[in-house]
Amino acid sequence: MDAQRTFGEPILEVKNISLAFGGVKALTDISFDILKGEVRAIIGPNGAGKSSMLNVINGFYHPQQGEIWFDGQKRQNLKPFQIAKQGIARTFQNIALFKGMSTLDNLMTGRYIHMHSNIFSQALWWGKAEREELQHRQRVEEIIDFLEIQSIRKTPVGRLPYGLQKRVELGRALAAESKLLLLDEPMAGMNLEEKEDMCRFILDANDQFDTTIALIEHDMGVVMDLSDRVVVLDYGRKLADGSPDEVRNNQAVVDAYLGVSHA
């Protein structure tokens, strides 16, 4: 990214998070922030605690120590669906789509937090329920256009190839119109072309929908190209934090990835 990008205040601040499962320390004293509008990467070797970090942000895990500040406010211990309502969406490392539903329905489910018609209105399909359904369909169709998945609109997602499933999952997260989007290895298992497409979608989503994105990825080329800032974890500790160039030249990071000679 050549042009200097500037960002607003932090949307999410993680302060001194420690998480342990029994005697296993998954995260130790981690602090970093995510600024409004940026693409933030979280990298690290296997088992470094990246996914645990996302699970903490998501509310699946509750850390033993530390605070999370979201959108300028300290967050209490909330359930994942309440956190979704506050504006955090996410995709999973191993696809977690609703396999029995069509692409369209998966995306419409992404709109769940924005829909409010009551059960009686829905039972009659009349008034608010129908209006709401059409209105959100419009919004979902924009995302379908954006991701170029028009042709699979009504296909049950269980039948789609892997690459498309990943794309639909991104669509479902985008449909939530969240303030912060967490992507857990959006490019895992893809071929080069699919990766390039996915990169384009992520950058465009960041650009067009003003979504702040935090992503975990193992493909270093992708990480260095996409992200504005990178945080590096290893064994549950923070190794480095900074722009891709800074991180690339950080000796501790190089050691963690390539190993250190003990000679």
């Binding site: 979704a84 539903m101 489910t109 059960i119 939530a176």
Partner: protein, 358 residues
């Protein structure tokens, strides 16, 4: 004109989202409903009412209810018989306490009461899943039947322990009790079933239905997208129990006329409804109807053929029917676990490419 899908274009999302997007489907359904409402009442006789039409309608309603819970929300329940008993006893208590109350309202209220009981027994679903939940609902089956046997207040202290449907009229026509004409009971049940089937379709295609299916397919992802598991599961239990309760009230009030819980609402009924939705198709409104019709009419058909046609002894045929149905259930589970609706869907897909599938 042939049945085909091409050429039926939509220009608005409203048109695209309707229940039957194909014009021909719509016509067939409308004709079918018109036939059921306008023609059948003139042809109906006692035999058709008691052994074909009413059972199909009542069990379709129960299958609809269970399909919402099991097919759409993925929560297995073996308590259907017990919940039908709740509906039946609720309608009995309501209509004997308030004889003036319209039977239609009585039955809807019975559904409401069953919904509340269903929510109560649905609470464990938040902690337990799958087979374990099935066992928990099995407990509700036995508990409810025991309760209705044990507490005399439920059967108004009658000496036999039975409940008997009193005679009630709607718009001056008798619809319950032994003197009700076949066309009236049929029309009454048909109206309930058609209305509630449309409601079920609307619920399952909208926001709430998607939240159920999301919980069924991937509960973690559902929660991450903002679906509260508590609300989704309990609302599925409530709506499902409502339908099952209405089915129970219809079963007792209109069809049986008199009931005794162990006999009428036993565990075999819970399994029957479960088989219906498995054979018809889980997660499909039409599938509930197909499954119920299939399992109710097959014994009638076999009996007519084997006893009436071949002149075989009745007891032999009764046992043969049990074996044939058991065999069919196994056959379906192996060959087409998604039920008859899936079979229809596959047929359509094959025909779309026929005769050049490659």
């Amino acid at each position: 004109m042939f049945y085909r899908e091409s050429g039926d274009f939509k220009t608005s999302y409203r048109a695209d989202q309707q229940t039957f997007p194909l014009k021909l489907d719509r016509w067939v359904v409308w004709l079918f409903i018109a036939f059921a409402f306008l023609v059948v009442p003139f042809l109906i006789n006692d035999y058709w009412e008691k052994s074909v039409l009413l059972p199909v309608l009542v069990w379709s309603m129960a299958a609809l209810g269970l399909n919402i819970l099991t097919g759409y929300c993925g929560q297995v329940s073996l308590g259907t018989g017990g919940f039908m008993a709740v509906g039946a006893y609720a309608s009995y208590k309501l209509t004997t306490a308030m004889p003036e109350l319209n039977l239609f309202i009585v039955i809807i209220l019975s559904g409401g009461i069953t919904a509340m009981v269903g929510v109560l027994f649905g609470l464990p679903s938040l902690r337990i899943k799958g087979f374990y939940l099935a066992v928990a609902t099995l407990a509700s089956q036995f508990f409810l039947v025991w309760l209705f046997n044990k507490v005399p207040w439920f059967y108004n202290y009658s000496a036999s322990g039975q409940i008997t449907a009193p005679e009630r009229t709607i718009l001056g026509v008798i619809v319950s009790g032994p003197n009700a004409p076949p066309w009236a009971t049929y029309l009454f049940c048909l109206t309930l079933v058609v209305i509630l089937a449309i409601v079920a379709r609307n619920l399952t295609r909208g926001r709430i239905g998607r939240s159920w299916m999301a919980i069924r397919d991937m509960d973690i992802a559902a929660e991450i997208i903002g679906v509260p598991p508590l609300a989704a599961k309990l609302s599925a239990f409530a709506v499902s129990s409502f339908y099952v309760g209405v089915a129970g009230a219809m079963f007792f009030m209109i069809y049986l006329g008199a009931a005794e819980p162990t006999e009428a609402f036993g565990i075999d009924k819970s399994f029957l409804v479960l088989f219906m939705i498995i054979i018809g198709g889980l997660g499909s409104i039409v599938g509930s109807f197909i499954g119920a019709t299939f399992l109710i009419l097959l014994p009638v058909l076999l009996k007519n053929i084997l006893v009436g046609g071949f002149g075989w002894p009745t007891d032999l045929v009764a046992h043969l029917i049990l074996m044939i149905i058991g065999g069919l259930i196994m056959f379906f589970l192996i060959v087409e676990p998604h039920g008859l609706t899936q079979l229809w869907r596959i047929t359509k897909e094959k025909l779309r490419l026929w005769p050049f599938p490659h």
